[in-house]
Subunit: 339 residues, 2 copies
């Protein structure tokens, strides 16, 4: 009996800043859980980060290392997961350029994710061409690794649809399935709100708790956390929905029963924000303490981290170059070995 | 005394069909002349050909070899000129993707060459994204080879302007001249008209004389060549301007004095089209005969041709990868060698 090879997951992060609790809840936790049952590739997406940070490559460079630290600190195990640097994989650039010939400008402009992000960044027609092209680059990433599962937020699902369109178009032209379709793995837990209650935790909005937060920073962040503005005295009944402290407890407190009791007491009246926040502070300290410690240990051993990146990138170089060669051959591009 | 290195020329052709007399007059002749005083790279531009031929990669592949045959047949000497295959140079794809971050969508759309070609091909918004992006790809080609001279037709001059904009933007950001600006080398002779008198000789228009034309094909092409529709009898005065036979004689007949005499006689009256065409037929047979012969010799020795392409492509791979590494370092992208 031959063993079925494990499904391949491609995931990763733009290297524009260190990761935070939102990443932990939305993706990092999952990666640590999935790495033993799946073949997992983590892409340090510095090329993609450059599509809207070309003016600041230093930030993008520096954060390749920082994000790698985050991965290792939360428990991504380089013995089973492959961590690699996107800009050092030339086959991804080759596949991207090739795929751009199979996508119309109109189709890229119609992509809802791109549309939203163009709006959010205030780009309009001044959008860098590379930014507009990034759905083709993501199709290259996904297919180069032969990934069939791509963990993404719901808002990124159109990227997977765009990838599969390219895959189908190439496979149809070639006449066999050289490329694999992928499907989005939408995380069970929704997106973690920022400490201010805004929908998205984000460093640039100043509402994030970084994975490297100290105990003091955790206390401070929880202290200013958004609860129920109508809940003025401990004895008042309070709202649980939209109360960030409860959202975080739901996400990180393993004692589900205790959280259920707290919710009931809060809604009835008789539980003050201070007591509630004190519990969350303890939970987050217990969660982030070991991550922070591991992170600073790793930071003191850059050789180890660089070695992980070297090995992972080399493995990814081989794998993605192999895919590019298969696509070249299947499409019938010029081959110097022939005669 | 150290020798100043010769200026670097980058030139090449999209591999969509074998070359014809128009290419010979407009560029091939020049390349043969320039190769001894310049460092010359000839790019078999199969990646660029795919930007509007993604549906027919077989045509693009086949013509890599055909165009290489044309180069060698007209006298491009692989001992001094480097002939290489574009799609086998991953650094060009890497540089293209990088440059796309430094060009806005609006700027690409404003490019007059792109605008004309979109119109000519009837693309509109259905334009393949890769086609829209090709000015960035040409900037990658030119800068990767550190070329400072790029022989192009007048209609392609905006591509050089776009390249130099990218060069200046990167150099400014980096703070030193890592990339070189290039200038267009506009050929002295204008574009050769088709045998039907239309402005451009083109295989797809059916008005071209291929470099591999047989004597019979040359005779036939000259027979149906556009002269002066008002010149009915040999004794009538005829027009020289717009008369394709004279345009070709100007381009290919080395006996300038004899051509001047013929023009005078034709204008005065007393020289028939038959006699005139007979001279051009002889001139073209003398020009194309040896090219055709050399071409068919080379076609019988594909190993030699493939070896030229292997060596040229390997040299170009090293050179372009070196440029990519310099740009990476200058921009400060992530480096696995650091720690």
């Amino acid at each position: 009996m031959t063993k079925t090879p494990p499904p391949v997951i491609l995931t990763g992060d733009r290297t524009t800043g260190p990761l935070h609790l939102g990443h932990y809840a939305g993706s990092l936790q999952n990666r640590v859980a999935l790495q033993h049952t799946h073949e997992q590739y983590l892409l340090l997406a510095d090329s993609q980060a450059l599509t809207d940070n070309a003016h600041d490559p230093e930030k993008v460079r520096r954060n390749v290392f920082e994000v790698a630290l985050d991965y290792l600190a939360v428990g991504v195990d380089p013995a089973v997961s492959t961590i690699c640097v996107q800009s050092l994989l030339p086959a991804l650039a080759e596949l991207t350029l090739l795929y751009l010939n199979f996508v119309s400008l109109a189709r890229l402009e119609r992509n809802p994710t791109i549309k939203d992000e163009i709006r959010a960044r205030g780009f309009d027609r001044d959008i860098p061409a590379g930014f507009l092209c990034y759905p083709a680059a993501q199709a290259a990433d996904i297919t180069a690794f032969k990934a069939t599962l791509v963990p993404v937020g719901e808002d990124q699902a159109p990227i997977i649809e765009q990838t599969n369109e390219i895959v189908r178009r190439l496979n149809r032209q070639i006449g066999r399935d050289v490329l694999l379709e992928a499907r989005a793995l939408i995380p069970r837990v929704g997106r973690l709100p920022g400490v201010d209650g805004r929908s998205k935790m984000s460093k640039s909005q100043g509402n994030a708790i970084p994975l490297s937060a100290s105990d003091g920073e955790i206390e401070e962040a929880v202290r200013r956390m958004y609860t129920d503005p109508g809940h003025l005295r401990a004895s008042d009944p309070g709202r649980v929905e939209g109360n960030v402290v409860f959202t975080y407890l739901d996400a990180f407190d393993d004692d589900r029963e205790a959280v259920a009791h707290l919710k009931a007491r809060y809604q009835r009246g008789g539980l003050g924000d201070m007591a509630l926040k004190s519990r969350l502070t303890d939970v987050l300290k217990a969660l982030l303490g070991p991550i922070r410690e591991r992170r600073s240990e790793l930071k003191r051993d850059p050789d180890f981290v660089m070695d992980v990146l070297r090995k992972g990138t080399r493995k990814a170089q081989n794998l993605t170059a192999e895919t590019m060669a298969e696509v070249r051959e299947a499409l019938g591009l010029f081959d110097l070995r022939a005669s």
